[in-house]
Symmetry: C2
Subunit: 337 residues, 2 copies
């Protein structure tokens, strides 16, 4: 405010009034001040007002953990771990659920312009344009559970590539030769990396890669679509997530195909769908705790020293063995295409 005032040769009182649309400033001057504020990238200091007013303009919302329950989404669980680690460091997490419109219209959280936070953690892939917008913010930021090849962002991600590789290896070891991958390769980096891990396993075992066995599960905006099964069914499916695996199992079952006797299915994420499926899914569990801890500690280091950068940090996942995989049915020489 002082800077704006000096530049315009007015007092900070006038600037304050203008920015708050209060009386006592001429309309013309008000406009000029507002424009300059934007130009100079001025952000309101909420703490100063808080102190003055004796109000924080924050409301605590308490939800008992048990009500966020087993159905809680993966990211809510991650958020919970993040806040835990933040609290240990004397910090708080303010959750901002970014809605579809704001993402499309490239609108930053008001949290930012109100200067309510020292940094941002973005949890879950956003559009390329939104990544760039986030990058333009003048505070440290960390990206969690995704990365972008083209931007130089600090991110913490599960090592999807190796996890999918290992998971596919499990299937190969069980004698499977015709293995499908289910996921839209152009949707998220996670899905891509998991696909590549799957592919690496095929390569390593000298199994042919059949484009007809790469099945689409969603459009590019993430909405699920009906999965088109190939005419000649594979003996195993590597699904990019448990939810899709769940849907696939339902579909197979409704077609009279037994899982895992006739067809093995593996998922990813170890979320509610993994245990909700019948049979329960063999899948990969993301190390939520480790991811949250890494993200928080990196963030705090960046707050201390904004020039620090971490690049892409990988966190290992763990395979959870359940009941959706069995040995491949006796070979009928399918694999020879």
């Amino acid at each position: 405010m002082r800077d704006i005032a000096d530049k315009l040769g007015v007092s900070s009182v006038t600037v304050s009034k203008a920015l708050n649309d209060k009386d006592g400033v001429s309309g013309e001057l008000k406009e000029k001040i507002k424009v300059l504020a934007v130009q100079m990238g001025y952000r309101y200091n909420a703490a100063a007002r808080s102190m003055k007013e004796g109000l924080t303009h924050n409301i605590g919302v308490i939800i008992p953990e048990r009500f966020t329950g087993p159905t809680q989404s993966f990211y809510v669980r991650v958020f919970q771990r993040i806040t835990k680690h933040l609290e240990d460091q004397g910090y708080y997490g303010i959750l901002h659920i970014l809605n579809v419109e704001d993402e499309e219209e490239l609108i930053l959280p008001k949290l930012y312009s109100d200067n309510k936070v020292d940094g941002f953690i973005v949890l879950g892939q956003v559009s390329k344009e939104y990544i760039e917008l986030v990058q333009s913010m003048d505070v440290p930021k960390m990206f969690l559970d995704f990365y972008d090849e083209h931007s130089d962002i600090d991110s913490v991600v599960t090592d999807n590539f190796y996890a999918a590789y290992e998971l596919t290896n499990v299937l190969v070891q069980q004698g499977h030769r015709r293995i499908a991958y289910v996921g839209n390769l152009y949707s998220t980096s996670s899905i891509q990396d998991r696909f590549l891990g799957y592919y690496k396993s095929l390569l390593e075992h000298r199994l042919p890669m059949d484009q007809n066995l790469v099945l689409n599960d969603r459009d590019e905006r993430g909405t699920f679509i009906e999965i088109d099964l190939p005419e000649q069914l594979p003996t195993a499916f590597v699904c990019n997530c448990d939810q899709v695996a769940h849907l696939l199992v339902q579909k197979l079952t409704s077609l009279g195909i037994q899982v895992p006797a006739q067809c093995s299915v593996v998922g990813f994420d170890n979320d509610i769908y993994a245990t909700l499926s019948e049979p329960k899914l063999t899948t990969v569990e993301v190390d939520v705790e480790q991811m949250a801890r890494t993200a928080v500690h990196s963030m705090l280091k960046k707050i201390d020293n904004p020039s620090r950068s971490f690049g892409r940090v990988h966190v290992k996942g763990n395979i959870i063995y359940r009941d959706s995989v069995s040995a491949a049915p006796a070979l009928s020489d399918d694999a020879s295409n």
Copy 2:
């Protein structure tokens, strides 16, 4: 701080040092200051430090809405609506997920002692002891989706009583005479009120109330238990929530009983389990939007004027008609006991 300093005849600098465990204060004095601070109910002014340091000690966590997805828990959805209304009023919501241990050991969120918020909204029933603890906080508070008969708290709740009454009426109108209620009456006030609404419908239609048709679904801590079906099956079940209805439908189906042909089932909440069930559940949808709006506006009025009180505010629910109800099977005079 000043007050503490005056009372002890020292300076506020000394108090600051003592409270922050910094050097430059004798151990003895430090102790005395800390004890007095607690006695006087001193709470740290985080805004003042923020201003001084230029740090807010908050981190924004951004989660794209689509990733909180359809599986998101009911309360997360409510939280989202709450923050929306808060933002419209220049406020922010800080989510605190209260874990089981803190609730049992009666530990308040650090948010409170750090003076990071102007008030609290408690979303979801907590223990009587915790309610009292919350009540003891020196800021406005609102309770959402539950109330306590014995405490004089401001709460916003769905009109469970009438919704259950109307839902049971639907069953009666379809010719059902032997209708069971599923839920532990001693678990939450919602379950109790829904039961009473069910009972009112029975009374009004002169149907006998059979204690054997009140089925337990969980222990008092909320953990689900196997539902004990009565020997003579009712023709309809009013379940206290969709999740239990979902479990019940699965159980009935596995026993070879067709829903709704042989047995109708209704749920409550219209959450993910309502559409996940086969058949999809007829249920009651809570008016999340209205509840969130009421809670936020009441809260802000209380911040303006702490002596305001609202008591119990009811918000109507809507019945959602789906496929889990049909006319009662032809009577075999079961109802005569």
